[in-house]
């Protein structure tokens, strides 16, 4: 296991190196003045220009520039946003929790709904229930997420008026910002409208979470179902049945343990899709997260922001990938070889 971990860490270092190279080269690839792109300053006068060129080492060769870029990233000087002229790292710190919150609730929902439904569908593949679950999974798998979000908004927000269609919380509630996760912030806040605020925030969360969870849930159902059907065919299941265990016991002791192993890995692989979908969901529900910010950045030609967004989001996905791989190897010794 130690050898495996070391190898993984080495690999991760390599991937981060390649990522930083990509992010660095973006500063040169983006159209416009390179000095503006790396610093994020809109107006640069002549005296400032000289100073900045020596600060960013733009008169040096590419290797020097790259090293300077790395040390800037490490020190937390990520440049400024074109749009707001604020430090990017500060902006990202404010936005990232909103995305993480939405994505983690959706992921959680997809487990809670997806795994049991997948098992049921695998248990009775030819019954009406099994077929219905598979059919719903295929339908959910094929829905274009932005259209699905619009449909739900039209139905629940516009036609029925049950749920709000945008934002994280009603403007009436003033919640002090501490962690950035709205539910935690409300629970921590010392205000007398805590219960109402919590209810309001939950109502705002409901639709985006459902929309974002649709795709991962259906992937989970299909994946668990296939894995379970596959495991159910194996000889050790027949042995277990033959020695007299009943269905529930076989399922718990032999079926689930083997079928759910690849599911751990699937989380890591699905993570980058989840982020893409989260970006779309944020746009539709005006959710103040990093995805909507990035998409606004492209409308505003905000190049420093795109570079920073690439770094943050890719780091997040790489870390999630690595963690799930390591967890998978932890539970499954066979995977440690590869």
């Amino acid at each position: 296991m130690t050898r495996y971990l070391l190898r993984r860490l080495f690999l991760m270092a390599f991937v981060f190196l390649a990522l930083s190279l990509l992010a660095f080269s973006l500063g040169h690839l983006f159209p416009g003045d390179i000095l503006q792109n790396v610093s994020g300053l809109r107006q640069i006068d002549d005296s400032q220009r000289q100073q900045l060129i020596s600060y960013y080492q733009l008169d040096q060769n590419y290797l020097q520039q790259y090293l300077a870029f790395l040390s800037r990233i490490a020190q937390g000087d990520w440049g400024q946003s074109f749009a707001s002229q604020q430090p990017l790292l500060q902006e990202i710190k404010l936005l990232l929790p909103a995305t993480l919150e939405l994505a983690s609730y959706a992921l959680l929902l997809s487990f809670i709904a997806g795994i049991p439904l997948g098992i049921i569908a695998a248990f009775k593949p030819d019954s009406i229930i099994g077929k219905a679950i598979s059919a719903v999974a295929v339908v959910g798998y094929s829905l274009p997420i932005f259209w699905w979000g619009l449909l739900l908004i039209m139905l629940f927000s516009l036609a029925l008026g049950w749920l709000p269609s945008a934002g994280r919380i009603g403007v009436l509630y003033e919640i002090p910002h501490s962690s950035g996760f709205i539910l935690i912030d409300i629970l921590r806040a010392d205000v007398n409208y805590q219960a109402e605020a919590l209810q309001n925030a939950l109502r705002h969360l409901l639709l985006p979470t459902i929309v974002l969870a649709t795709f991962p849930t259906t992937v989970m159902i299909r994946f668990v179902r296939d894995a379970m059907l596959n495991v159910w065919e194996q000889n050790y299941i027949k042995t277990a049945r033959a020695k007299g265990l009943n269905r529930a016991q076989v399922l718990y002791r032999h079926g689930l343990r083997n079928a759910l192993l690849p599911v751990i890995r699937q989380i890591g692989l699905q993570f980058s899709t989840l982020i893409t979908l989260a970006m779309l969901t944020e746009v539709i529900f005006s959710w103040p997260g990093i995805g909507r910010w990035l998409i606004d950045s492209i409308y505003q030609r905000n190049y420093p922001a795109i570079q920073a967004g690439l770094l943050v989001i890719s780091t997040m996905v790489i870390t999630a990938n690595m963690l799930t791989e390591i967890m998978h190897a932890f539970f499954n010794p066979l995977a440690r070889r590869g």
């Binding site: 973006l26 094929s142 259209w147 950045s297 492209i298 990938n321």
Partner: protein, 297 residues
Amino acid sequence: MSKFRLYLEENNRSPVKQLWREFKRQHSAMTGLVLFILFFVISVLAPFITPYDPYLQVDDLMLLPPSWNAAGLVQYPFGTDDLGRDLFSRIIKGSSYTFGFALITVAGALLMGLVLGALAGMSKGVKSSIFNHVLDLALTIPSLLLAIIIVAIIGPGLMNTTWAIMLALLPQFVHGIRNAIDEELKQDYVVAYRLDGANNWHVFSRLVLPNIWEKLTIMATMAISTAVLDIAALGFLGFGAQAPLSEWGVMISDSLDLIYLAPSSVAIPGLLIFTVVLSVNLVGDGLKTAILKRRQS
């Protein structure tokens, strides 16, 4: 696991015929295939079968409701938009953008993936591991982020986002093909063929390729559904196809501000995207099941 069979039936037809027989038995897969072919034909013939010019603006017929509405006209089945353009013609034309470009994207990604995957799969040691790790990086960048970066560098447009989607699809192809080749190379008949004096190219073209095409087809169908969804999503966000083009995602975002006046102009393109993706997924699932059953029999 092979199933016990009481009556031994003659089963020495070609693999494709066996596959078709298993595929035919699944009603949902056949429905998907019919829809798929229908969309394919429409998207190829789109320039010739539109009843009106999709860009022609008729001032007298603005925001005409669909023909099933009492106020609609039978000449305009889906009605017209706020500029008086026939929605039916626009939808037909749009199929070649959304669906046709998805097919082209996947074909391109598949071709590149086959070359890179074959290089990675047939080589050993350091070269193979470098391939893998570069791909790991590419896998971690979400497709929408990749598209944003490409749009930032070379500007928005249908062609540019096609490249982005191709790049985003590529890693999974290379990974899949590499793994399939790896699995194939472990077979005994490969060793036997090598002992007969076959070189890498012989092994690849005569043994590996014919044995992995089933996996390739499944990968390609799954990728088509991703590509359609991505093209529509990028069009919806305004990064992909630009306004006058009637790509379905663009059509949805165009008619968003008319959602109260003409809800059908948002509903119909979305429903079509959904139907296309559903048909592709049904075909993909049907193929998977058919291949599994063919192997078992």
